[in-house]
Every structure is written in C-alpha cells, then in structure tokens.
Amino acid sequence: MEITTFLFAGFVLVAVLGYRLLPARFKTAWLLLASAAFVVTWSWKFLIVLLALAGLNYLLGRAIGAGRGGSRLLWAGIAINVLALLIFKYNGFYLPELLAFLGRLGVQTTAGALQLLEPLGLSFLSVQSIAYLVDVFYRRVPAEKNFVRFGVFTLYFPKILAGPIERAKTFLPRLEAPENWSAEAFERNLSLVVVGLVRKLILADSLNALIPVDAFQKPQLYPGPALALWLLAYAFALYNDFAGYTLIVRGVSGFFGIELTENFDFPYFARSFSEFWNRWHISLSNWLRDYIYFPLSRSLLRKIPRRDALIHLVLPPLVTMLVSGLWHGFAWNTFLWGGLQGGFLVLERLASLGRPRRPLDELPRWQQFLSGLGVFVCVALAWVPFHTGVRLSVRYWLSMVGIVRWPTSYDGLNLLPIPLLLLLALGLDLFQHRHSLRFLQWPRWQQAALLALVAIVLFLLAFAEKGAPFIYQSF
C-alpha cells in the first residue's frame, strides 16, 4: 500500500479511530496489529521475516540487558542484523559471483532460485535494532520486556518504509504517553501531511518526470547544460521526495499522538559539509555519528592519543561516510558516493586546520552564501554516483562539461519547465525556513484558500502519468 493513495488515507483513518477509541491497555496492541496489516498489504512473507528479526532482537536485548553473554552477545546481535541485510538486501552484489562459483563446482542453478525476497524497510530496521542492542549493552536504555511494545518500536507502520530511524530511549516513552487529541495538534499534523504531499507529488514527482529516462544511462546523447539542469532537478527531486515522505509519516504518526524524529532541516541551505550532514537524513546521520564515528574516534584516540594526528582528521569521517554509502546500497557507485562525501568532510577539516574556528552565523553574508553554494555544487555532483554506476557517473560528469561530446540536436524547449519547478521548490524551502508552519496562524479563510489551491493542483496532477514510489523506499 503506497502512502500517497486514498487507500492508505482510509487505512490511517480506521487505525486512528480504533486507537483513539480503544482503552489505553489495548492501544499498543492495536498499533502492532495495524502495522502488521500494513506490512501484509505488501507481502505476508515480509511480515514473517520482519517479525522473526524483531523477535530475535527482542530476545537478544533481554539477554544483554540481563548481563548474559557479555560483549559476545552484542556482537552476535550486530552480526545477525548485518547478516540479514547481506542475505535479503545486498544479495545482488554477490549473487552473480556465487552463481559462477557454484557453476565451477558443477552445481547448476539459476539466479531466480537463489533470489530472496527483500523485506520492506529492512535496512532501517537493522540499524535501529543495532542501536537498540548497543544502548541496552551500555545501559543507556533498559531492555524492553514487553514484546508488543518492542514490536511496535520495530514495525510501527508510519516509519517502517523509510524511517525516520528512531531510538528506543525516545520512542518507547512516547508510545507510553501519547499526546492527547486536540484540534491544534490535528491541524499541525494535517499540515505536515499536506506539505509532504506537495513536496512529493507536485515537486519531486514532477522534477523526476522531467528528467529523460536515459539521461543517466546515456549522458553522451545530451548537451552539457541540459545534463547540469537535470542534475539540479534530480538533487531537488531526491530531497523533496524524501523530505515529503518524512513530513507525511510524521503527520500520520502525529494523529496517534506519537511524534517522530525530524529528518530534514533545509539541507541545501547548509554552509559547510558538516552542517549539511546535520541537516540531511538527520536520523541516519545521528546514528552514524553515535555508532560509527564516535566509537571509531574514541578507539583511535586510545591507540594514538595525539589529538592533532592526521589520522584523527581523516579516518573517522571517511569510514563513517563509506559505511553510509554501503548502507544505501552494497555497490561500487554508492561506495564512491560515500567516499566523496567523506572526502568533502576531510577536506573541510584540513582546510580549517590552524585557523580559529568561527561560527558560521558570524561569517559575512556573502561568505555564507558562497560557502553554501560551494557545498551545494559538491553535494549535487556527488548525487551522480548515488543514482548511477561508477563508469556512467564519470561519463555524466565529462559530458556535462562538454568533454565527451556536445550534441546540438536536443530540443531545448523540453527544459523550460525545470527552472520554474526549481524556483517553486526553492520558494517553498525559503518560506518554510523562515516561517515553518506559520500558515496555521493565518485567518481561517486564507488557510482554506491555500488548502483549496493545493487540493486542486493535486487533483489535476492525478491525471498525469503515475509517479514513482518514494526513492528511499528502495534503501
């Protein structure tokens, strides 16, 4: 069940009504039931795998919490979650080699026979579970004793598709004491859903559709300026797609009185790479910081206590971003993307060596603008390997600057709508950056006029060719 459909709206309505009407002691069980039903709409097999994984993590958490097994049990838990990813999600990376190897051994089989299902949101669930086990081990959070509550923590349907990645320490108490129903909360949650739909259906889907299907596969066929414009379109499509998804699920979860973590904070307004990663996919960035970057830095410091050693500047950010790349896909292109992002962070740190650290807000406006522009250009260029293979990425970059070929036959008229949509996307970001959801303070008639306008645009867009599912759903 896609979350931008009327079917999902009906599902949420039933789930919210049931949740609000049921006595408190049944509410959590109701949420687990609703979440299981949501997963089943995709595949009942997904539910079995996800429940099995949740059950394993629950038992491991109980054992670790009881102090049994020491760190070996923690490592076993981490290994199980990583293994689940390798088996179910990243098998495309090793399956061809495995088939070839089996062939050499005389075992004849087909890719289809070895192909396994790829359960919904598995990579989000895995990192969330790893964080839970680590937190239990270090006594940051007690092991959850109630499987129903743990099941909701794992399978909660608003966040199962693509996060946000929640921590037990913040999520479970919210589950215990959901926000009471109020008209103000309802308005706020509805606004989040509407803004999310605008970002996804009006901006992201439209920008995505404006990029020719083969632009990233055969970039040499197109002129450089068109490729540059499509890269811009892709950058904003990706952002609005994921930010739109997050807003929708935060709004939906808000109807249950359960707040989900914010995932985006206007990342393209970032003035440094580290600021970008504090604003982009925040729940994953925080996870990477807490469970990869900090432990690695601490471990290095124990071995090399000199804080200004080059290795402290280079290794933690690089490894962290390479892990991020691999999490997005076990492939060379996402590895390259992670490497580039790590490289940007390292260069930024090296460039600031020996200089007094000045807060970004205190820099002159023009310097903030130029820094932001530089960060955006680098981030946008790095989206190429995020989207396509390594060789094709190189070809895309070269074609963009006209080194490979400069075809002249392309009809430039087709590019016209892109700048208009980019302006609209930028305008929405600027408005929200300055005013957040201030339209909730507007007079009723103005709010109604705005919602009517959005409803009409969404209605008209419904007649267009069907848009793609959320991009991050595939991670």
Partner: protein, 368 residues
C-alpha cells in the same frame, strides 16, 4: 458580564467554519474555471483532451473525436464512419469516397475517417460502439488487416486505452473521473497539458499540434512517406525483418480477436449497417505470413464470420491494384495509394446503394 465575556478565550479552532470556507473556495474555483473554459479558453485552444492514453495513440483518438464533433456540427450528421487502425487513418480519404459516390449516384454522402494509429480490433470494437451510439451513422466501415487477429499483439496499448476513465465511462462503467471529464470543459481544456512534466512534453505537444493541422476536416491524415522496397521479397535473415517474420510466424486468426469482430458486427441494429473491409497489403507482405495461401485462409475466415452475422465483407482481392509508390510500407497506403482505394470504396458504396435503396435513403441532408 461584559468583562467576563471579553476575558473568555476565543476558541481558535473552528473546524466547521474552516470546512465551509474550504468548500466555498473549491466550488468557487470550479465555477470560475468552468466559466473561463466555456467562454474564453476553449474556443481559443486548438484541441482539448479526454485524458485518453497512451501517448500518442490517445491524442490521435482525441483529434478524431473533436474533429468528428466539428464535422457533425458543420454537416448536420455523418452517414458513413470509417474505423480501424493506422491503415484506415492513412489509407482511406473520406472526401474521395464521397466525391466518387456523388459522381455515380448524384447523392451527397457524409463520410468521416475515425481510424486511429496504434489501436487494433479490440479497442476499435469498443470505441465503434461509442461512435454508433453517439452519432448513429447509416454505415460503419471497419477496415481490418491480419495484424488485428494476432492474440498477443499490442496488449499494453490496448490496456492503457481501454482503462482510460473516459473510455470506461462511455463504455458503461461509471467512474467519477470519467464523469468529470465528460461534463467539464475546464478539465478537457486542461488535460492536453496533464503530462507537462514529461521530459519530452514540448516535443510531443508540437507533434500533436502539427498532427491536428495534417488531419483533414473529414478525419483523413495523409502519409507522405513512400516505401522503396514493397516489390522486393523480405528475407527472414535480414535483421530488419526478423521481428515481422516472428510476429506472423504460424499465423492463425485468434478466436478472442474474432470476438471483437463479432462485437463490431453486433452494432448492426437500429438502422446501422456494418461493412468489413480487408485493407490490401503489398504482395510481398504475404511472405511474413507464410505465403498468399495463408493470407487467403485468413480472408476466408473473416468473410465467413462477417457473412454469417449479416454484414458486408469486402475482400482486398477485389480492390484495384495499388501502384508500388502508393505504399508507405508493406501494410500502409500513402497519399498516392489512398485515393485509389478510396475511389474503389466510393464506387462500391454506390453499387450497394443501388442494390439496396434503403441503405443511404434520406442521407446527406441532415442525418437521421
């Protein structure tokens, strides 16, 4: 009392009033857009749309639909409707048919070509019913070719066309989107731009506008291409011909497709006659099917079915020879071939009218 009233907090949330405002704005916007469409926008725009897919087949259908409405408005009705795929669209010129007929009978005949590129017998049978029910022609001529009866051919296009909300609505499957499209001119004026975010939309739109200009008021769209190889026999070893040979290998008429032919023949009610015309192909085309004998078997199957249903069958064998430069490829006639076949059809209609005086009685002056 006054101070107590003043100190009472004003309830900030008034969902009822908000809902009223929202409904008022939606209704006002709908009225405004509809008014604009009916008064200003519609007459100024070259063509509206019914949201029929897929591109470009759907837009070809829509050009014909709006052209037919204009044709009927200008001529008071239509006597003969030609339906079929691209072979009809480019292969039969209604003006030549009408002129030939008038020349032989002295009677006026109103003929319109509703052949649509990319639509085979399955969607043809569905939209033929819509046309007959809407425009009540005296004669429905279905132009057909062997490709219409390949079971697995054109499935995606057919499915996209038949699942369009307006087609479903007009075929008797009520749905809100279809109803809205049927009744809202504002929506019809917007729909040509519904895919504005397609990366190739401006190019497609330009092609569409050009196509409108190419299509005559009676629905004929001439094809200016001239094939150079129709007299040569295709070779199965030629990579350019492999697909065609594979498509027609072990050719047989699919019973499912024959059911669509029957649906067209079933339209012979309430004074509408049905004529099925096998559109001639170049002789070298028979090679794809395995020779002229297979082609003759195919024609015999069609002929038997049409005659059994009380329809009129016109064999391609009776058609006059088309010159080699009259084809745009082995299946399609071009602007030089179409007049030859159209004149033949006009003469045949005149013969039919002479044999059956009631066929076009009272036509040409305002319809039935």
């Amino acid at each position: 009392m006054t101070s107590a009233h003043a100190s009472r907090p004003q309830p900030r949330s008034q969902p009822g009033r908000f809902l009223l405002w929202l409904l008022a704005f939606l209704a006002l916007s709908a009225l405004l857009l509809e008014g604009l469409a009916r008064s200003l926008v519609r007459p100024a725009f070259p063509a509206a749309s019914l949201g029929v897919g897929p591109v470009p087949t759907g837009s070809n259908f829509e050009i014909k639909w709006y052209r037919l409405q204009q044709y009927v408005a200008a001529n008071g009705g239509v006597d003969v409707l030609l339906v079929g795929s691209s072979v009809v669209n480019t292969g039969l010129d209604p003006d030549v048919i009408a002129q030939t007929y008038t020349g032989l009978t002295g009677q006026k005949l109103r003929v319109f070509n509703f052949g649509v590129e990319g639509l085979d017998i399955v969607p043809n049978s569905v939209y033929a019913r819509i046309l007959v029910e809407t425009f009540h022609p005296r004669l429905l001529i279905f132009g057909t070719i062997p490709r219409d009866y390949l079971a697995a051919d054109n499935l995606e296009v057919n499915s996209a066309f038949l699942s369009s909300p307006w087609i479903e609505y007009r075929s008797g499957a009520p749905n809100p989107a279809g109803w809205l499209i049927e009744h809202s001119l504002a929506l019809q004026a917007y729909l040509p731009y519904r895919d504005w975010m397609r990366s190739d939309f401006p190019t497609l739109r330009a092609d569409f506008l050009h196509r409108i200009l190419r299509t005559s008021p009676s629905g004929y769209e001439p094809d200016n291409n001239v094939a150079t190889n129709v007299e040569q026999h295709p070779s199965p070893d030629d990579p350019n011909e492999t697909a065609a040979f594979a498509k027609y290998a072990d050719y047989r008429v699919d019973p499912g497709r024959l059911a669509s032919l029957q649906a067209i023949l079933d339209l012979q009610t309430d004074g509408t006659h049905v004529l099925v015309m096998n559109i001639p192909a170049a002789a070298s085309f028979y090679d794809y099917m395995g020779g002229a004998a297979v082609y003759r078997d195919y024609e015999a199957t069609l002929s038997a079915r049409v005659n059994a249903a009380g329809g009129i069958f016109l064999s391609s064998e009776d058609a006059p020879p088309i010159p080699a430069n009259g084809y745009s490829d082995r299946e399609h006639l071009n602007y030089m071939g179409a007049p030859v076949l159209s004149a033949y059809l006009g003469a045949h209609l005149a013969d039919l009218a002479k044999a059956d005086g009631s066929l076009f009685a009272g036509t040409g002056q305002g319809g039935r």
